[in-house]
Symmetry: C2
Subunit: 596 residues, 2 copies
Amino acid sequence: MSHYTAPLRDMKFALYDVIGAEALYARLGLENATRDLLDAVMDEAAKFAGQVLAPLNAIGDSEGCRFDPATGTVATPPGFREAYAQFVDGGWTGITGPEAFGGQGLPESFGAALKEMLDAANLSWSNYPLLSHGAVEALKRHGQPWQQDVFLKAIVEGRWTGTMCLTEPHCGSDLGLLKTKAEPREDGTYAVTGTKIFITGGEHDFTDNIVHLVLARLPDAPAGTKGISLFIVPKLKTARDGTVGERNAVRCGSIEHKMGIHGSVTCVMNFDGAEGYLIGEPNKGLAAMFAMMNSARLAVGLQGLALMDRAWQGALAYSRERLQMRSASGPKFPEKPADPLIVHPDIRRMLLTCKSLAEGGRMLALHAATLLDVIEHAQDEQERKDADVLLGFLTPIVKGMLTEWGNECAYHALQCFGGHGYIREHGMEQLARDARITTIYEGTTGIQALDLLGRKTLQLQGAGLQQFLRMISEFCSAQAQDPAMIEFVLPLAEAARAWGELTMEIGRRAVADPEEVGAAAVDYLAYSGYVALAFWWAKAVAAVNRDGQPDDLRTAKRETARFYFARILPRTQMHAAAIRTGAGNLLALDAALFDS
Amino acid sequence: MSHYTAPLRDMKFALYDVIGAEALYARLGLENATRDLLDAVMDEAAKFAGQVLAPLNAIGDSEGCRFDPATGTVATPPGFREAYAQFVDGGWTGITGPEAFGGQGLPESFGAALKEMLDAANLSWSNYPLLSHGAVEALKRHGQPWQQDVFLKAIVEGRWTGTMCLTEPHCGSDLGLLKTKAEPREDGTYAVTGTKIFITGGEHDFTDNIVHLVLARLPDAPAGTKGISLFIVPKLKTARDGTVGERNAVRCGSIEHKMGIHGSVTCVMNFDGAEGYLIGEPNKGLAAMFAMMNSARLAVGLQGLALMDRAWQGALAYSRERLQMRSASGPKFPEKPADPLIVHPDIRRMLLTCKSLAEGGRMLALHAATLLDVIEHAQDEQERKDADVLLGFLTPIVKGMLTEWGNECAYHALQCFGGHGYIREHGMEQLARDARITTIYEGTTGIQALDLLGRKTLQLQGAGLQQFLRMISEFCSAQAQDPAMIEFVLPLAEAARAWGELTMEIGRRAVADPEEVGAAAVDYLAYSGYVALAFWWAKAVAAVNRDGQPDDLRTAKRETARFYFARILPRTQMHAAAIRTGAGNLLALDAALFDS
């Protein structure tokens, strides 16, 4: 069984020392968000994560959720329900929720750090609040006042939870194919009919009511993605004054048996003329859903980060304890029968890969989350617009790469344990299984990559990329005179230049052949992720070199940054080389000949 | 539930058309091994794999093995025992076994193709014969005549199975630490006492007797790896005439709960003064164990190959069926509501990665296995010695890289399925879980890498590498005039040159600092694997371009080779770059500061 200790020191370093969140919150007028308060909340969250959620992680995996076909109900694993009650009592469900609806209105970027802790402690459990957070976003932006009073408030207060019902058996990434229909009734409600699959938290025993946000088609809706509307379909029919009535005609039909996240229930939901309430405008449901996509995708990126950190903590502890072989340069602990694993360069390669990706990913993700705060609170319209563009650009990088790195780090961490990593009791294999879903749900890595390269870069003439390159360029200029920074600034500036050039090159190819976008996308996503992380690692070194930072942190950050630049950043070479070979080698082989 | 169809066409293409096994078998005097017979046997094996073993794969995973603590017995999953009985009846246990002991003496390289089928159909089940094969190797080379008559014959005939008992709780890779002791008795037997863990097939219900090969220390043995001897410890005491007696004092104490291969039992074995028989010379047990290492490690490499192929088959079928989105260059199947996944370049990238690694890995592994035949049957001593050196060099590449690629392909294949890949019923997630052990057992990837770079390359002045480079160079010279080959020959020749140069460079660094070996090892292993595969892909194109090969195969091989050279071979750049940064960035950070 593995333990979890929230990396408070590194979270604070990233948020305050590198990203400068204190000054930002002050500038945005977030008066609640004083450093004292935030530190106290963070400490409490760390306790909740480490003491309440982490001990339930293994049992959630071994017991899983149990479905009763007779009643359509789901029992979550032992302890999950009680932990949720404690979470509600502590006021955690509304920590970043709007104050007008019972929330505490703390910054989203701060909430992101808390999310990382919950996810690392117990990914399955944390999926329930995650989905609620998505519903909060949709209701906050698109809900009618009564819908906000009734549903938003109940979710912020944790009395009810939310879901997102998008996928159907025949359509996952391609929502244009969806068939669920919504027929208007005379009373202004809608009768929603159809089957949704892969519904996280579709049924559970945490709360009485569950608020499903459902994509469906109106009778006269145009085909494809332009004919999709969004509906609230509560488990219990809910009047406009908030009175909860009888059971609605929505029911969990079965639950999936999955590779991991066994404690997070994944439901088939059958809607059989269920009472629903239109949210937002007719046929604009996808736009409403997309509005909460940034936050939901960032949230899954944080899951990747969380798993990186949890895996890394386990691998580090084991590598320090486990004695095996002698160091090649002579015994390091001659009094012991062998040296600990951590003396061996290849173990260090795996550990430092995890450390550099996790700590780098933390800066990347927390910075992206600050853009949510800017979008919501900045006075200046242009600043809000810029933040929206930059966030749109960074979101697929955070979602796509942090989840891929989550899988990679879980892989390395398990490998550090040798045969013991493959055994359940050490908890490492659970992390690897849990991580595997994160590159799939909320849009696969391939979908993130198309979003990044197609929609967010080529369609916008590189507006987001230009902003990020400007950040790099300004940083490099500011640091150019510092001899301690030159080893990072030079390769970073070169990487940024090459990133821009590669993007232009793909753009030119894509004009000639639209297939070039899909052919380059995942490699471009990875390329972007590695350059972005190089920027944050350079920023970290600059931050830690400032007066007042402790020596151990300074050394650790500098050496990890050196490792990153030396051994991880060169991955960009491979991705650039692959991109430059173009689409031809992917498309030449006829589909019928793949098994020739 | 996923199906499995043995890739007979590609196996035969690799073995006969690319590697030229027919001529080799004739030259080695393997008169049994006629093409007609081999083809017939291969077809039968494919049926057994597809019809008997494959249908048991999912149930093996869901039911697993059951341990009864009261009796110390293990029940294998439903159907496993019956399948083994059928396997024995069919004479499969002795297919490559020595004829003098009831085997059929077919070539090991041919046996490797059969192994791939069994592994792909049902990895868990196939672990039982795999371990027996290891025991056969050890007994064949080091057993006394009576031990061969009794134990070897019974294993070849499938009446008993074998195990390898190396690992102890405190020592995995570092066998020098092992504590199990063997005390001589007056009757010439030994009393073996100790605890062994991770013993695959340590207890089961396939056969009455189980032949444990156990590493242990004699009372006067020197410390470390030079004081280890090898013993036969049967589950049932066995007299020199083969008479089976009472239960020996060896007992399964518990079984592990693992991430995957649930049908393959992993036991803790307690030896409590169990009767054992010394095999080989005192204190030379590790050498005896290493003698069967090549074959056992190749066998695990074949597991990686098998999983690549099974995963690829599943992903290809799904990608052809599942309709999702339109091709970026316009609908390819306008009559359908969407195009199948396989039109999308990124899906093709994943599929072609699997195809190129699996088919390339097959040539690499089968060629390596032919060296086992050369070592055993060649008349010329120098030829045998050369083959031994080359096999020693290739074995860690096959074991290390085919298992890493097995994991990679299982990852891609699951990803092609989207959310459905994460659900148990499709069978893809089982492949990913099963694959995860293969980079660990029989020596982790890190251990393979040290073996390749340290023992097999630097210590032997690159003797194995030189042989392989000579093969490449001769091939390139022979193909240099063929315009159809130039696109492969030029980059292959360059990759070979760079491989040699990189090796020399590491050698020079290692003289100055022994830590450079460990710092470079895994990247060097990967680098070697990618260049070796480039050679085999070029060979495949040359072979398929010859007269008489069908057009579909010619096209498929050429385009897959192009994909490989364009998009996979560039990974060498990243590995070379990482190696060239040296050990410093791995060793600089004090172990105490890793979590600073």
